[in-house]
Symmetry: C2
Subunit: 252 residues, 2 copies
């Protein structure tokens, strides 16, 4: 397995044809996996916004006031409003806002990016990342699988790592159910989230910031002869952490 960055991509602007820009720069194969940072997908889709677009309602004002008290830092209630308007569920409201996006991804501040957005205050996540992935997948000459990725924190461990928000051309997970080990025991790992592991691998190569390369190609990796699943995001009923967080209250 080999990973390399698509070279020399310019700053992406609204309306840019990402597939064409990638095809211009690399000769893709049908069995490559193309990992695209959600920031450039959002930019191409014009998902920029400004704080002035989000006049704060009562709930946003309350959330921001509470976060100000906790942090001792000024918090813009319009940002809280932007988070609420881009979420279907607030999983946790302090000491930071953790929400579920309409497409199922749970992230801090609805994944809204306040850095790396020229001429605007905010960059929102793609509205339907799997549809974005599908469009790029279909428009690339070789139609390889495409992942739209982002980075996020996690429980139990410090640091962020990349995850996949949307995918096309391959299943999200490898299903090992029913397969056995060398001694004939049934395997303990049953579902492997390959799209998240691919996102993490790509993130090792892409880096961040001004030296960052937002599109990474994974070559000579095989999904292999396994079952697949597209069930990536847990719903509330099957997510004990989310159930626990809903009942929990931050006390400083």
């Amino acid at each position: 397995m080999e990973l390399f960055a698509v070279p020399d991509l310019p700053e992406i602007r609204e309306g840019d044809d990402l597939a064409a820009m990638i095809d211009d720069r690399v000769d893709l194969r049908p069995d490559d996996v193309v990992c695209v940072a959600s920031t450039v997908v959002s930019k191409a889709e014009g998902r920029t916004a400004d704080l002035a677009d989000f006049p704060a309602g009562p709930r946003a004002k309350e959330l921001a006031r509470n976060l100000e008290e906790i942090s001792g830092e000024e918090k813009d209630p319009r940002f809280a409003q932007a988070v609420l308007e881009n979420s279907t569920d607030v999983v946790m409201d302090a000491p930071f806002i953790l929400t579920e996006a309409p497409f199922g991804h749970v992230s801090v501040n609805a994944g809204i990016d306040r850095s790396n957005v020229p001429d605007h205050d905010l960059l929102l996540l793609p509205e339907r990342p799997s549809e974005s992935a599908e469009r790029i997948h279909e428009n690339l000459d070789a139609s390889p699988p495409v992942l739209v990725t982002d980075t996020s924190g996690r429980s139990f461990r410090h640091g962020q790592r990349a995850v996949t928000l949307g995918w096309a051309g391959m299943p999200a997970s490898r299903d090992w159910r029913g397969e056995t080990d060398r001694d004939g025991h049934e395997l303990q790992v049953t579902v492997q989230s390959v799209v998240d592991e691919l996102a993490g691998a790509a993130n090792l190569v892409s880096g961040e910031g001004d030296g960052g390369t937002p599109v990474i190609v994974v070559r000579d990796w095989e999904f292999g002869d396994h079952g697949g699943s597209d069930n990536l995001f847990r719903d509330l009923r099957g997510d004990f952490v989310r159930q626990a967080l809903r009942e929990w209250e931050y006390e400083g």
Copy 2:
């Protein structure tokens, strides 16, 4: 960046010199990263055990009885005893047991493996995975960084992905603090858990079960000129998910 499996490793037995076995099979470079599945580290270190080694005390009996009621499946209280004896904290006791290992890793059933252990019932995690990594790192001719990896589930998302339990020869995380994006904004991602992303990348190549290859080499990847951190495992105070789970009770 390129990843490949160390070929033709035999079934690992207690006392095997993993570093020598790897050096016999690949010409490593000092800037490779060698990812070793914790199962083979545990086997080499003789971390096998049997249920008979863990006569169940009252707490283990209660845990197993509760899990039996919830699942309707028979649960061996000696397994619960093994989990308790290999944990420093029970984060959650139903509908499954989530515990903290002495070295800080939170996992289901203390990471004890019931598959892939010839002649024994159980395979325990390495006692001090970073010390295991350090020994392999020092004994390999080229002394490349070494990671000891495992797979685990996570909140919010279905499926397992690999994580790192212990590391040597490199920091656990890349620290981007103070670095800026193309427009001079400070980066939102500040700490990138590169050891977990490397573990995930290796897991894409290694697979599971009887076709699995437990040692993967990452070549031509650079940590780069960044700060580093070895603070991988959150403590209770900084882990809101863990705080919430301690207060939460499973109700079916």
